[in-house]
Symmetry: C2
């Protein structure tokens, strides 16, 4: 039953990765501790050896998810003459829309984060800050503050479009949301 300290750490990592993915797919209240631990190949009792509470788990899963999203974002822009446009195209693609568990964690959990306690909300805030920083590096013109505000506007617009594209059950309308915001952002 007991495993090596090294294996225990690997297990904890596996739980966190599963949590970061499954919370995005099902939301915070939609994923129970037992289900999550089972996905990582453990029983639910083991959760409380690794984490203080479900809230602690949500906080750490947010941090993990934002790290992944930030990496995904900077990766999308790299090796492109206009990294911001490259990222916008990737963010607003049907592929991203259909891969909620591996996509932008902000788009997957904004409203749910608002309904959780201050610790989750704070982890979420810090994550958003990181994403805005990442995006701001891709903005070409303007003062530092202008670039940051520009990044915030681009991020909010993309996120809104992605979420609406996911929420509607009409494929045409869904693609139109992606297209509409994409052409709006790529023009300016």
């Amino acid at each position: 039953m007991k495993v090596s300290r090294e294996q225990a750490e690997l297990n904890r990592e596996r739980v966190l990765d599963a949590a970061a993915r499954l919370f995005r797919e099902r939301g915070f209240p939609g994923l129970g501790v037992a289900d999550l631990m089972k996905s990582a190949g453990l029983t639910h009792g083991a959760c409380y050896g690794q984490f203080e509470s479900k809230e602690d788990l949500m906080v750490q899963a947010c941090q993990r998810g934002f790290e992944q999203t930030a990496e995904w974002m900077s990766g999308a822009g790299d090796r492109s003459p206009d990294p911001l446009k490259a990222l916008i195209s990737k963010y607003l693609s049907p592929a991203h829309r259909d891969a909620q568990g591996g996509g932008c964690i902000a788009a997957a959990l904004v409203t749910e984060a608002t309904r959780e306690g201050p610790d989750v909300q704070h982890a979420f805030t810090e994550g958003v800050e990181t994403l805005v920083d990442t995006l701001a590096e891709f903005v070409q013109n303007g003062s530092k503050r202008e670039r940051r505000l520009q990044a915030m506007a681009v991020f909010a617009s993309m996120m809104g479009a992605l979420m609406l594209a996911r929420a509607v059950d009409d494929e045409t309308m869904s693609k139109d949301f992606l297209r509409a915001v994409k052409s709006e952002l790529l023009e300016s």
Copy 2:
């Protein structure tokens, strides 16, 4: 215990109004049937005389909420020389941010709607369609399709900014999200 048919209908309306408000505030899984009925002054057993299931209730609460939001939107634009700009300013105000229960239902429940069954998702889709129609009437230039795409882009951008402004626990950043998208939308 029994009330008049007329009173029963009033009760049902009161339940629906409470549901439309409380689901926006707490999310679908966050509001239980017992709590909701108590808010309307009834016991939870009465719910199943008025609605088939919690899902049925969610569907009807969505319809009610979207009606209210559509009215709120067209009201915001009326009696203004540029109704679209008037609406954008109202939508992206701190007052709207702080009044989630009475504000845009799409911004309050997008992600949660995605996690519910097809009936809720369809009610949500129809509601979004109504809001886009309302917004499209305020767009001045372009063909019908261009005006509609423009309305979709404006809606997605506003919604994303409002949700991020609600999610972060830093007042400066929150206001910056509103400001950033507002100036972006009002310029063009």
